[in-house]
């Protein structure tokens, strides 16, 4: 940039400071390298979901830290402190509702991001490792949702967790150990709350930050895959840099997600049920909406019985995740145009439709529970 001035040739104080830092850090080069990443075919709205996920994670961490100013993770204070946040702390209800709906937004965007990568064939060579790390990140996000859900210690939280951990118990050989480890004993109680809290606020965030960093590093190393069709000339004409165009699109996406989460916080603020008791009473346990499809699947007759429950809850989802992990190694065809990959397209539609049908079925099934 030209900062020519006819009256003075001395650099301003700010310019001197920048030059000082740049000489020692290589700031200008670093900035250029980080921001001037060429996006083949130009920045696209379809690519925003990765950055949006990063944004949502940061918002969750920030709101989560604020919640920790008042929340107490013990069985005798968890419920009361959460109610305190909702009713007595100024705008506490809004922060908690934002944190709650943020987790929903995270899951929605994870599905969008994974779908985009899958449909664009961006898991193929040389991007296999990014895909694998991404699958691990997906597991972490599900773990966040599962562990965070217990913390308010109301009936919904307690029972959804109990049922979820019991399902994990079905895994042969290690199931009992894993379930006792998570519960901190044979039955859910204070030990469970402490463990879920540590996992939710320390272990998972550290793991997520590490893996997300690795994910972004691998992505930059491999470069963006770009669109799957378009003539060479079109791609060349529209090529631009990550900054400012893709960053601009990412920010608009972030703003939209931010506003949407705030709107959800208004429409359905967090309302707790009664405090957790060892007897569910009239309450019908249910997990969070993004686990509902699994919950409904386990109601089918083919998954009845001990082995059936293991099959439906652990083996089948596990096999599906293994299939996803193996995907870049099975699908070696370099073709990335989704309209020329019929198996991939139909597979995606079938999986999404199945999840949707089972989720809606679970909601309909509520009427039949009495």
């Amino acid at each position: 940039m030209q900062e020519s001035s006819s009256t003075s040739t001395q650099p301003t104080a700010l310019e001197k400071v920048i030059a000082f830092v740049d000489e020692r850090v290589g700031l200008k080069t670093l900035q250029a390298k980080m921001l001037n990443e060429p996006v083949p075919g130009g920045s696209r709205w379809a690519y925003i979901f990765g950055s949006i996920l990063l944004f949502i994670f940061i918002m969750q961490a920030v709101t989560g830290i604020f919640l920790m100013f008042y929340y107490v993770p013990t069985a005798d204070h968890a419920y009361a402190s959460t109610q305190y946040i909702i009713h007595d702390v100024d705008y506490g209800w809004f922060l908690l509702s934002y944190h709650f709906w943020g987790s929903t937004a995270m899951v929605v965007c994870v599905f969008a991001h994974m779908s985009q990568v899958f449909l664009w064939g961006a898991y193929k060579k040389p991007r296999e490792l990014i895909w694998l790390v991404g699958l691990a990140l997906f597991g972490l996000v599900m773990g966040f949702g599962f562990t965070g859900y217990l913390l308010p210690w109301d009936q919904r939280a307690y029972w959804a967790t109990t049922v979820g951990v019991e399902i994990m118990d079905k895994t042969p050989v290690v199931g009992d150990f894993m379930a006792r480890f998570l519960k901190g004993g044979p039955t859910p109680g204070q030990m469970t709350l402490s463990r879920f809290f540590v996992i939710h606020v320390m272990i998972l965030p550290a793991a997520l930050m590490g893996l997300a960093g690795l994910h972004i590093f691998l992505f930059r190393k491999a470069g963006p895959a770009g669109p799957f069709r378009g003539s060479v000339e079109e791609l060349k004409v529209k090529s631009d840099y990550f900054f400012p165009r893709q960053v601009w699109k990412d920010i608009v996406g972030m703003v939209t997600v931010f506003l949407s989460i705030c709107a959800m916080a208004f429409w359905e603020p967090v309302v707790l049920l009664e405090e957790a008791t060892p007897d569910p009473g009239d309450y019908h346990p249910e997990p969070e909406w993004y686990f509902l499809f699994l919950f409904q699947m386990l109601r089918l007759k083919i998954f009845a019985g001990e082995f059936g429950q293991f099959l439906g809850a652990v083996a089948l989802p596990g096999a599906f995740m293994a299939l996803l992990a193996a995907l870049p190694f099975i699908d070696r065809d370099p073709e990335r145009n989704i309209f020329k990959r019929p198996i991939a397209l139909i597979g995606w539609i079938v999986v999404m439709a199945t999840i949707l049908i089972f989720t809606v079925s679970a909601i309909i099934n509520r009427e039949f529970l009495d």
Partner: protein, 335 residues
């Protein structure tokens, strides 16, 4: 760079509507959020549908009031919904303009005519107003029929044994597929109508002369304002004002309190009116003094009767009278 003059009307409509929707969406969302905070919007159960419809204007902007009035489907209450619709009009016209100009230059190699945003908006809003109620009725009817057919299918002897969870899943798949298919077909028809309208808008346009790179640069730079300082300041300023409104409107405590922690009802004290109080008191005093006088008169009569019986008694009665009169006197002077 492909020759886009042979694009199907459906693709044309889809491209333009999709991008116009998303272009306007964040702005509408900001206002919707403000209205939610102010409590002037209350969406009812079909939140997703309602919200999308409000924000999926331009096609819905006239259709939605028709649907709400004519077909009795309520998406919510509050003056904010109407306000939001009014706001959607300029936002959509602007968004249409941006998207249409981009598309004309990039794909159609045509010069975008002036006022393209407004003319497109009028046409699609009217089409939406006429077509969407039809779509609503058709899809609604199909869905209802589908649901009841699926239900009755599982009431038959052949299929009564199917357990609940499986039954729900299969029923849902059956009527869901049918309804989705009908919805898609209706949408395709609607899009094709809009696509033809858009295509007729292109017939009058002049071809653009420059090469592809220059045309891309044109629509790209179209988004950079001539006076950056002014635009950014105005944008930031508006954002600050909206945030301030949001802060003042945001409820401090939860709008859905739990049984455990409802705030106690504080009854406001009736306002204290000094003049009235004074008048009331004065009236009371005069009333009481009158009563006292009557009592004294009575006592005096009894006293004169009792004088014949004994002076002591009379003396006492007289003293008592005098006492009571003495006590009676200062009292009215007190207030």
């Amino acid at each position: 760079m492909t020759d886009q003059e042979t694009t199907s009307p459906v693709k044309l409509a889809l491209k333009l509507l999709w991008f116009t929707f998303w272009t306007g969406f964040p702005i509408k969302l900001a206002f919707a959020l403000l209205f939610l905070a102010m409590g002037i919007i209350n969406f009812e159960a079909r939140i997703g549908l309602g919200f999308l419809m409000v924000l999926a204007s331009p096609v819905t902007v006239f259709a939605l009031p028709i649907l709400m009035m004519g077909l009795d489907s309520h998406i919510g209450e509050g003056v904010g919904i109407g306000l939001l619709f009014l706001l959607c009009i300029p936002i959509d016209i602007w968004a249409y303009g941006v998207v249409a100009r981009t598309y004309f230059l990039d794909r159609l190699r045509l010069e975008p005519p002036d006022g393209i945003g407004l003319s497109l908006w009028i046409k699609t809003a009217i089409i939406g107003a006429l077509y969407l109620p039809i779509l609503w009725l058709v899809v609604g009817f199909t869905t209802e029929t589908g649901i009841s057919t699926a239900h009755s299918l599982f009431e038959t002897e052949m299929l009564k044994w199917v357990p609940i969870a499986e039954r729900i899943g299969i029923e849902l798949t059956l009527w869901g597929t049918v309804s989705t298919a009908v919805l898609l077909v209706m949408l395709l028809i609607g899009l094709s109508i809009i696509g033809r309208v858009i295509r007729s808008a292109t017939t009058g346009a002049q071809p653009a002369q420059e090469n592809y790179q220059r045309r891309v640069m044109r629509w790209d730079l179209m988004r950079v304002p001539a006076d950056q300082g002014l635009m950014l300041t105005a944008f930031a300023g508006t954002g600050v004002v909206l945030s301030l409104l949001f802060w003042s409107a945001l409820p401090v405590t939860t709008p859905h309190p739990h049984e455990c922690c409802k705030k106690p009802e504080v009854k406001a004290q009736p306002p204290y009116k000094p003049l009235d109080a004074l008048n009331k008191d004065e009236k009371l005093i005069t009333q009481l003094t009158a009563q006292l006088d009557e009592l004294e008169k009575k006592k005096a009569e009894e006293g004169t009767q009792g004088k014949n019986k004994g002076k002591g008694k009379a003396g006492k009665a007289a003293e008592a009278k005098a006492d009571s009169k003495a006590t009676a006197q200062p009292a009215p002077k007190k207030p």
